[in-house]
Symmetry: C2
Subunit: 244 residues, 2 copies
DNA sequence: TGTCTTGATTTGTGATCACAAATGTACCGA
DNA sequence: TCGGTACATTTGTGATCACAAATCAAGACA
């Protein structure tokens, strides 16, 4: 297996690293309600550690824009808006095109094969309706590609952006995913990579990101807010973290 | 005056914010030797605070890749290499071109004027050989432009990248700066912006970054390391943080 | 009923302490 | 002279405490 969601903090044995991973995974999985306030002590209780490591973990997430810290010094799960999502879309297109272009030039046969294999696994998971591994494999596909570019700084920036896009990619299921748009693009992408056609590879990855995130953006309500799927039966005590 | 180096942490009255700003400015100014190990207690002593806020400030810098944390849990000032610098160059080109393109579309007259004014101030500082304000104004010019793009996420990412490029831009003085290459590009850039010529504006900002950072990269020694200028008379006790 | 005030509680911040891992140093044997 | 071991010191980590700012909950008054 060895999924290793984040390549950078793999072997972090510290408590702070543990809390960080716990929070990051919870955020990615959409286990928090956007706008929800997180208190240090409640997280400390959930993870069975003292305040100290919790504080440092939260501070890191804040630095990565995965959490927001308000002037009144309370931390909240960021809300997603169309504006923000479209901005993330454009930044991701710029950076992931760059990474794809670099990868197209230097990828090895083994890396082509790995991509192909992951694409097959995505198709298989999709056939049996396994949304969880479908999502995981999509992420794996993208990062296998970007890692092949051999650009650690670029990779780190892209990882942070994915952390922000976080749970909202769940909204692609089942409609967008079912449309087969992603499959077609991925096929063309692999073909372009194999041919070392840099321009075409860049175009395809850009298409993939653009169509997916534009679709998610189209799901916004009238006030521009976007609510992630797979949420934990929304808390009764509304009003607290909601409209502000 | 009101320089406000980082728009995000402007009004941070906390001790941790103070330490963060202190460290960030010291890093940007090249007051630390690359590879130098920083101890929590020494920074706490320098800033007259306890370990707690120092730890959180350092953690933030680490998250922003402005400091490195080794597996043996010691934090060091990152060393710059040609490889890293060229990667930063390409990422910066991608993102700052994007920001410039957006800005070109929506900039107001007032913002054009502000850019023009800063360009004049750069020229004036240069005439009197004032390197310090020259550098500061160049930064101001770029960020006035990027801020005009009205893309907060993009701006935050760009800020982090500049933090990494940090003191190495000092190496542009006096040779590259004296070549007048930057001045010519900036003039064309402003013209393109005024004409709302997106493609040309993007091309010019890309040229600016590419030529500047490629020049810095050319200053690397035979082993690929790059040493910043304006350093504090290198510590006698070598061997500690040097070649490893 | 709605608004302001007052007091109780929650919550983030910073300092301090204890401890273990990492580092440095002196001493020993080959 | 070189390599390794034992001990002392430094240094990051995590827990705990004190405190002030923020938040909440009643109660008073209009």
């Amino acid at each position: 297996m060895r999924t290793a969601p984040s390549a950078r903090s793999s072997r972090d044995t510290s408590l702070r690293g543990h809390v960080y991973a716990w929070l990051r995974d919870a955020l990615s999985a959409g286990k928090f309600v956007p706008g929800q306030k997180l208190t240090f002590r409640s997280i400390a209780a959930s993870t069975n550690v003292s305040l100290t490591p919790v504080r440092e973990a939260i501070r890191r997430l804040v630095a990565e824009d995965a959490l927001e810290m308000e002037p009144n010094r309370s931390v909240r799960v960021p809300r997603m808006t169309v504006t923000k999502l479209l901005e993330l879309r454009d930044v991701r297109i710029a950076l992931e095109s760059l990474a794809t272009g670099k990868a197209a030039r230097i990828m090895s046969k083994a890396e082509f094969a790995r991509l192909q294999k992951i694409a097959k696994e995505i198709a298989r998971a999709r056939d049996r309706g396994d949304v969880a591994t479908d999502r995981m494999k999509i992420r794996e596909f993208h990062f296998a590609l970007y890692r092949a570019a051999n650009q650690p700084i670029l990779l780190a920036v892209i990882e942070r952006l994915w952390l922000q896009t976080g749970p909202y990619l769940n909204l692609l299921f089942p409609e967008y995913i079912g449309s087969g748009r992603g499959v077609a693009i991925r096929a063309k992408l692999i073909r372009a990579l194999r041919a070392r056609n840099v321009a075409m590879a860049r175009r395809e990855i850009a298409n993939d990101i653009r169509s997916a995130l534009s679709y998610v953006a189209s799901l916004a309500d009238e006030s521009g807010n976007i609510v992630p799927a797979s949420m934990p039966s929304v808390r009764k005590r509304r009003g607290k973290g909601q409209v502000s």
